[in-house]
Structures are given as structure tokens and as C-alpha cells.
């Protein structure tokens, strides 16, 4: 029942919004992993980012797609929690878990064991729209535990113009999506993060974007 509701929501709400209000220009779509386990990592500009990445897949892949999102934001209230976990299908990450000696990545690890495709925003926050911050190391710690799982860097541009942090009304713009080559685990967290950041910077350079300031 929930699965049907989720499917219907993505078909009738998410797809039309992503395709009509936004509109995607996708480069290297053929690189996307069709089966899990896999991790998609992208830069984060807007609430639409998750919808954009999930729309790259056919609806039948929906059960496999799991965005990883901050628990303190998306689990604020009962209704939002229900919507986030059941309809969007997020895996909540408790940003304060590590301080309490708990494992913030337990849920994500389980999903990978399941063969799911995780969607991760290692910047940790939407931050300044259309400005890429350095990636946080959580993703490397996750891959360290699942060294066989490929990580696909994806560069997003435009969603921050549509709906930047703090804005309420979206303004239509096309969103550019550049899918990168998968990155395999290299054996060391810092070196891996350097490599991932370099991959992302190279992907961003593939496009020429008009200034927005």
C-alpha cells in the first residue's frame, strides 16, 4: 500500500515538477548504475536535488533508491517523519550520533547490504546555493566498510537557482546533471576524499555556467 502511494506520488507529483518546472540536461546518463549496491554522491544546492537524482531512474527502481538525509531536519515532526521515511524513502542520519558514541551510518550500511542505491550529499547541507563546499568524510567511512561498493560522483547545477535555501516559491530553471565515472575504494580515508573532491571539481568544469550573483 505504501509502495503504491510512493509510486503514485513520484509519478504524479515529483516527475511532473522535475520535468516541467525544472527540466533536466543530463550528461553521461549511461554511466548511472542500474543495480545496487552503489552510492551516488552529489553537491547539494536545493531540496529539489533529491527529486532530481531520483528522477534519473525509471519508477520501477524506486524501492532501491534511498536518499540519506539529516534526522534533525527531516524527523522534526511526526508528519514530516512519515513523509520523509515512507514516501521519499530517506535513511535518517543522526548528525549528533558520533558524539554519543553511536554509529550514524548504521542505517546506510544496512541498505547497502540490501543492494540499495544510496543518494548522499557529502557537503552535509545545502549551504550557499550554486557554491560547492568541501565534502565531509562520512562517505569515505561508509565505503571503507563496504569497499566493493562503487561511488558515482554527480555534479548538479541550477537547482539552487530554482529553490535556494530559505526560499519558498520555486522559479523555473533547467538543471544540469553531470554523471561521473565510478570511484573505487582506495584504502585510505583522506586520500579517498581528496580523490572524490578532485573528481567533482573536474565534473563541474565540464560545464560553462552563467554567473548568478
Amino acid at each position: 500500500m505504501i509502495a503504491l502511494l510512493r509510486w503514485t506520488f513520484f509519478l504524479l507529483v515529483v516527475r511532473p515538477i522535475v520535468l516541467v518546472i525544472l527540466g533536466l540536461n543530463v550528461r553521461h546518463r549511461e554511466r548511472l548504475p542500474l543495480t545496487g549496491p552503489a552510492i551516488l554522491v552529489a553537491n547539494h544546492n536545493s531540496h529539489f536535488d533529491t527529486m532530481v537524482l531520483m528522477s534519473l531512474y525509471p519508477l520501477r527502481a524506486l524501492p532501491k533508491l534511498r536518499p540519506v538525509a539529516a534526522a534533525d531536519y527531516f524527523m522534526r515532526s511526526g508528519a514530516l517523519q512519515w513523509f520523509s521515511t515512507r514516501i521519499i524513502g530517506i535513511i535518517p542520519v543522526d548528525r549528533g550520533a558520533r558524539a554519543r558514541g553511536e554509529d550514524p551510518l548504521a542505517g546506510a550500511g544496512l541498505a547497502l547490504d540490501h543492494g540499495d542505491i544510496l543518494i548522499l550529499f557529502p557537503e552535509g547541507t545545502r549551504g550557499e546555493p550554486e557554491a560547492m563546499a568541501k565534502f565531509k568524510k562520512g562517505v569515505a567511512h561508509l565505503v571503507k566498510r563496504h569497499p566493493e561498493v562503487p561511488v558515482y560522483p554527480i555534479f548538479l547545477h541550477g537547482s539552487g537557482k530554482v529553490l535556494p535555501k530559505g526560499a519558498v516559491i520555486p522559479v523555473p530553471f533547467f538543471v544540469d546533471v553531470f554523471v561521473g565515472e565510478p570511484l573505487a575504494w582506495s584504502g585510505e580515508v583522506d586520500a579517498y576524499m581528496d580523490q572524490l573532491n578532485t573528481y567533482m571539481a573536474a565534473l563541474a568544469k565540464e560545464g560553462k555556467f552563467p554567473p548568478w550573483e
Binding site: 541550477g158 522559479v171 560553462k208
Partner: protein, 312 residues
């Protein structure tokens, strides 16, 4: 089937289908004769032509409101592509919404056949309203550029393209043979065939570049061959789809031929200025919508006012 879908229109749509069949068969044969050549781009392009022709045929065949909604949607996508391509100011985010709002309003003027409002709404009212709304934000840095690009975008994608839509609502008795849809089909078909003819003439005979700094692929041979082809086709189709005489049809062909070229290179100049190649990837093999309707931004108002002045 709606009554306005005349027999002549059906025959013309059938003819377009025939042309596409010929193009597909020719491409398949070429692929067998020259298997080493990379035909992918051309195949994608022909495939996209099929999709566009079918959607367009469906859009103009049933109901006038549906046709107008379809053309408004084309304006919307083209305007969105334009805004995504050009620099915009973060401060103007809300102003852009006002600009988007102009699209449905402009098509309502067309729908209720209010010519006077249709012809001044964008060039007068939006021209005044948007800069006024922008100045209230209070950011002067980049003000002129922002106001200028925004107005340019509305003028081409909404005002100019809207002229194609207004052909649909011109009095039916002005064109007893094929009505408004006949005029629209004539304009779109000739504009697109002109693009294709200039491309083919240029590919096969092109030697001297006509505008090397803007569009290095365009040649005098392609331009002249394309315009000549368009004039011939326009003269043949004119009496069939429009109220125009043979002479007027030939003149309309020249207008569409040269106008199409200018519209095409104008958008090329913008893309070159901004350092991008395609305006998007909505139409595989073509680029974005703007890459497809670039010629139309010139031919639509030129053809509209030509036929409107002479016959309505």
C-alpha cells in the same frame, strides 16, 4: 475530428509523414552503403523530427485551445532555456516569476483574439513592468544588462513565437481552404524545411563562409540554395494552405528563407557570446528547444505581419 481540420491540412500532414519516411529510408540505405561513417547524430536528429512532427500534428489537429496551450508550453520551455543560459541576478529571482507569468497572459490575449493587446502587452507593458519591479529591489549593479536580457528573452520566445499562435485565431473566412491551422502549418513547415535545405545545400556545395565568427558551418552556397528551395516550396504550397497569390507566396518564401537564417545566427551569436554549444538536450541531435525554434523567432512575426497586412 474537428471541423477546422481541412482536407488540405491532412494531405500536408501526410506529405510531412512521407518526407520523414523518405529521410528514414535514405538514412538506412546510407548506413548500409557507408557503414564506416558515423551516422548516429543524423539518426538521432531524424528520430527527433519524427517525435516533433507527430506531437505538432496532434497539437494542431483537434482543438484550438489545445493548440494554443501547446504553443504556450513551447514558449515556456524556450524562455526557461533562455533564462538558464544567460546570466541572471540572484536579486531578480522573484522578478523572473513575473516574467514567466507573462506567458499565460500573452496566450490568453491570443485566445480571446484581442489583437491590440497581443501586439503591445510584451513590448509596452512588460517592458515597463519588469524594470520597474527590478528597480524596487534596489540593486543597481548589472541592472541594465539584467533588464535588457530579460526583455530580449520575452520578446523572442513569447512575443515573436506568439505570432505563430495568432495565425491560428485569424478569421477562418480569410483562408477558406485551410484556415488558421493552414497558415501555421505553412509557416512551421517552411521554416523547418528552410533550416534543413540550408543545411543540405551547405553540406554538399558549401565553400565560402558567410558568417565565420558567428556560425562557421554557414556558407553562401547553403544560404542561397536554401532560400531558393524555400521560395520554390513556398510558391507551391502558398495557394494550397494560405490565401496568398503565387507572387505573394514567393515573397513569403524569401522572407522565411532569409528571416530563418537571421534567427538561426542570432541564437548562435548568443550561445557563442555565452560560451555554450547547445541550448539544452531536450531534442537529441538538435540540442534544446531554442536550437529548434531559433529561426522561428524571426520568421513568425515576419510572416504574420506580411500575410496580415495583405489579406486580413
Amino acid at each position: 475530428m474537428a471541423p477546422e481540420l481541412s482536407e488540405r491540412l491532412l494531405w500536408t500532414l501526410g506529405g510531412i509523414g512521407g518526407l520523414l519516411v523518405i529521410a528514414s529510408v535514405a538514412l538506412a540505405i546510407l548506413g548500409l552503403v557507408k557503414p564506416d561513417y558515423d551516422w548516429r547524430e543524423l539518426r538521432l536528429r531524424v528520430k527527433s523530427w519524427w517525435v516533433m512532427a507527430i506531437i505538432f500534428a496532434l497539437a494542431i489537429s483537434f482543438d484550438r485551445r489545445l493548440s494554443l496551450a501547446f504553443l504556450a508550453f513551447v514558449s515556456y520551455i524556450a524562455f526557461k532555456e533562455f533564462l538558464s543560459l544567460v546570466p541572471t541576478r540572484r536579486a531578480d529571482r522573484r522578478v523572473l516569476l513575473w516574467a514567466y507569468l507573462a506567458i499565460p497572459i500573452q496566450y490568453v490575449w491570443i485566445g480571446i483574439e484581442w489583437y491590440g493587446m497581443f501586439i503591445i502587452f510584451v513590448p509596452v507593458y512588460m517592458f515597463l513592468l519588469l524594470p520597474a519591479r527590478m528597480v524596487l529591489i534596489g540593486v543597481t549593479e548589472g541592472y541594465l544588462r539584467a533588464a535588457g536580457t530579460l526583455h530580449w528573452g520575452l520578446m523572442t520566445t513569447v512575443f515573436s513565437l506568439g505570432h505563430a499562435a495568432f495565425l491560428l485565431v485569424l478569421p477562418a473566412e480569410g483562408n477558406p481552404g485551410a484556415g488558421g491551422p493552414g497558415l501555421l502549418l505553412y509557416l512551421i513547415l517552411l521554416t523547418q524545411l528552410n533550416d534543413v535545405a540550408q543545411f543540405i545545400w551547405g553540406k554538399s556545395l558549401g565553400r565560402r563562409k558567410v558568417l565565420p565568427t558567428v556560425s562557421p558551418g554557414k556558407t553562401y552556397e547553403g544560404l542561397v540554395g536554401g532560400v531558393a528551395t524555400t521560395i520554390v516550396l513556398a510558391t507551391l504550397l502558398g495557394p494550397w494552405l494560405t490565401p496568398m497569390s503565387l507572387l505573394h507566396s514567393a515573397a513569403a518564401g524569401a522572407l522565411i528563407g532569409f528571416g530563418g537564417f537571421l534567427g538561426d545566427v542570432t541564437v548562435s551569436a548568443i550561445k557563442r557570446d555565452l560560451g555554450t554549444k547547445d541550448s539544452g538536450d531536450l531534442l537529441p541531435g538538435h540540442g534544446g528547444i531554442l536550437d529548434r525554434v531559433d529561426s522561428l523567432t524571426f520568421t513568425a512575426p515576419l510572416f504574420f505581419h506580411f500575410v496580415f497586412y495583405l489579406y486580413y
